[in-house]
Amino acid sequence: MTEVLATTPGLYPLPDWAKDELSDLKGHQKDDLISGEESSEITDAYDRVRDELVDWQIEAGLDRIVEGQGRWDDMIAHPLSVHENVETRGIVRYYDNNNFYREPVVRGDLTPDGDVAAELSACDATQAVLPGPYSLSELATDEHYGDEGAFLDAVAEFLSAEVAGFPPVETLFLLEPSLVTDAPEDGVDEHASEAIDTVASATDAEVVVHTYWGSIPEKPYAHLMDADIDAIGFDFVSDHEGSIYNIQEYGTKEGIALGVVDGQNTLVETPSSIAERVEWVHEQLPVQSFDTVYVSSNTELFYLPTNKAEAKLSALAAGSKEVSL
């Protein structure tokens, strides 16, 4: 029996009132962004943001509720951007988007700091979201560990300690777009998979390694299959052929996350089209059976205006209920 669950990779747009209120409280410049040491007014605003983002998901009827990551000014680079031994420098492009984050430069030991765990503890999230170790190390600059491999290990240990401090959750989404956009070379691909293992082993939750903006090249995909994780997430919006190819050639885990709703376009998918896409994937894989299918957007949702993001949540929930496998 396959369980079909509606969820998202998190990183929601701020409600419009919060865009205004927080930009008034914090300012518009790079030195004004989140540092991990916010005033009580800012903390209070983010508490209200968190409540509202959780409400959106409950109202929509999602099966997994995320914290919403409203504080993540630097998108998935956030866990490093707020770290005391990380310096944030200039504004750099966030993947191939018209979005920017502060370049995090690691200048000292990545000691555990519990920033994301504290966010999760402040709400009733059933799904945690973190960057995967490979993507986070790719987004950052290392001026401390001195070696690419040592840095990846350090980032993995840091995330692992963060996960160990989480309150109980059902699912952990590790976002690994860099496995697609800046795929690891020979040798590093195996290491990236081991780093993911390090993080995944810190929790009893189901671990989903979610990838997007295309499909992972074959070899890193084959290595990812060696990691002790419960599901891999695929972007069926941007590259359904490459995703199907990987699964047909190398198999996949017993769970699967399907990015079938476009997180970067305001056109809202109908529930029936979402269900059809999920069923289509299932039909392409006659020899594969799944215990869990996560129906999701391909990317984070912060690219969207709030009305469309909310509409997509409702469509995801309704669409996943229509799925018949």
Partner: protein
Amino acid sequence: MSFDGYADTRSQFRPDDHPTDHFLLTTVVGSYPKPKWLNRAKELAEDEDRYFDEENLEEALDDASRLITDEHVRAGLDAVVDGEMRRNEMVEYFAHRIGGYEFNGPVKVWGHNYFDKPSVADEVSYDEPWLVDEFNFTTGVTDRPVKVPITGPYTLASWSFNEYYETEEELAYKLADLVNEEIDALVAAGARYIQIDEPALATTPDDHAIVGECLEHIADGVPKDVRLGLHVCYGDYSRIYPEILDMPVHEYDLELANGDYEQLDVFKEPTFDKDLALGVVDVHTTDVETVDEIKANILKGFEVVPPEQLTVSPDCGVKLLPREVAYQKMENMVQAAREVEAALDAGEVDVGYAGK
């Protein structure tokens, strides 16, 4: 379009009383800091409790437009702009005037900086002129030639959500046809200097062929004496040069001062056979370059083109600078150009351009 057939769209901008034989056309990219009172006027117009209606706001926009045009004239620029006082943002402004677009609310660019990214929800259409009123007003307040910057179709397409067209490319070509219609209207109103702004090309340089095809749509039927320019900024130019030379425009306006002319060599081979509008002041620093520093930057341009093909311009729109800094940069820039022209007349400058 070959350069030879269109060699002279430049001399029409040379002032009758220009003091030197040599003429380096001085201009700006377009945007300029808005006077603080204009922002206050906009807030008043949005406040229903205030006695300040749309008509009052229009008057404020006229005042701002006149003020900044005058400021450009005072700085001595040969071709002026009104500083884009009526435009809030380079995509939103046009999307509000193009049929098929809708707005759903702000989206994040970075930190707490947002942009009302519009959605193309239906077939795009030309329903009303976009810039003709702006152009008519500006030409009415100055005798100088007025340049018209227009956000290019590739950027309009890339920086919108596309709900309607199969591909972003298809949307870009449809929008290019609308830009062509707008240029018809502007030319009928007397415009002779039009610049297409394509900043989105910097993030996806491999799409230069799409931008080229867009420009074919845009240039179709445009009279030969109308000067067309393309502005591109903050990218890796080696990925678009020399391909851009084939585009049907007379002039390429490029940001180069910000990178300290590190990319200048890109343009030396093959020969740059169109006009180069060289960025000679950096718009991302409030330090005002001295006249001597700018003269040195202008001379860099002669490594690529001869004086007859050089236009002098800031790197990009100056709207993020404090207004007094923006003005001082313009004034120094014009002064530097005039001094270089005199030095050229006197034979004191070695023009070692690559095509010589």
